[in-house]
Amino acid sequence: MTRLVVISGYLVILGAMIALEAYSRSKPDRVAPLDEMLTEVMTSRIVRVGIIAGWWWFGWHFFFAPTV
């Protein structure tokens, strides 16, 4: 039962992300789509390197590092 609740939480968050992106695609001048928002915030080196590091870590974690 607990496992189902935890997995449901992930799915709700994923669903909210998909819904947000769909909404922003239909009303881009109200809420900017994800790629445009990232283009803007990634003009800062700290944000850009931080986001790229997060992306790299995902690969590191799943392809090399053992699951802790």
């Binding site: 992930y10 928002m37 090399f64």
Partner: protein, 172 residues
């Protein structure tokens, strides 16, 4: 992030993030004086695509958690750091309010996901049974990434995600 990685026992992850934060702080405090390259790295699209395809095959074929994977990930890490360090001068053309709303909403969802995942991880450390009762994303995705097809799908999505974030297609 670095602190959380150290706390959960992922020493290498914690040290990597800690070093990166230290370099970014120094760079920020010295008005961006750290230069990793004399000029931006650029390449024709077919070269980028060929390198990406080669990396993809390498990561799918190399045994998971092997030293080959380690080598591949270190090389990718160094390359993307060099690419990411170079300024990306052009911003988006949307109204600032739309960008701010998007930033706030995505941040809320991202932080919520991190907190949910961290909560599951903390609760899962209590016992072996708790590991299955409070699964993290890693625990849920692990069997999928272990299968050859699943691994190929994750590698392709991950590499294309990286290409998109690095904006290598739109660089002159």
């Amino acid at each position: 992030m670095a602190g959380f990685q150290l706390w959960r026992g992922a020493w290498v992850d914690g040290v990597v993030f800690g070093l990166l934060v230290a370099v970014l702080v120094v760079d920020n405090q010295t008005d961006g004086r750290i230069h990793l390259l004399s000029r931006p790295l650029t390449a024709p699209r077919w070269v980028i695509l060929a390198i990406t395809a080669g990396l993809g095959v390498f990561l799918v074929v190399a045994p998971r958690h092997s030293w080959l994977d380690l080598l591949g990930m270190v090389l990718i890490g160094i390359t993307v750091l060099l690419l990411a360090w170079v300024p990306d001068p052009v911003g988006a053309a949307r109204p600032p309010k739309a960008i701010r709303r998007s930033l706030v909403l995505w941040s809320v969802l991202g932080v919520t996901l991190c907190l949910w995942e961290a909560g599951a991880f903390i609760l899962s450390t209590r016992s072996t049974a708790a590991l299955q009762e409070y699964p993290t994303v890693s625990i849920l995705l692990d069997p999928f990434v272990d299968s050859p097809i699943g691994r190929a799908i994750v590698v392709v999505l991950w590499l294309f995600g990286g290409l998109g974030l690095l904006r290598v297609w739109s660089r002159p």
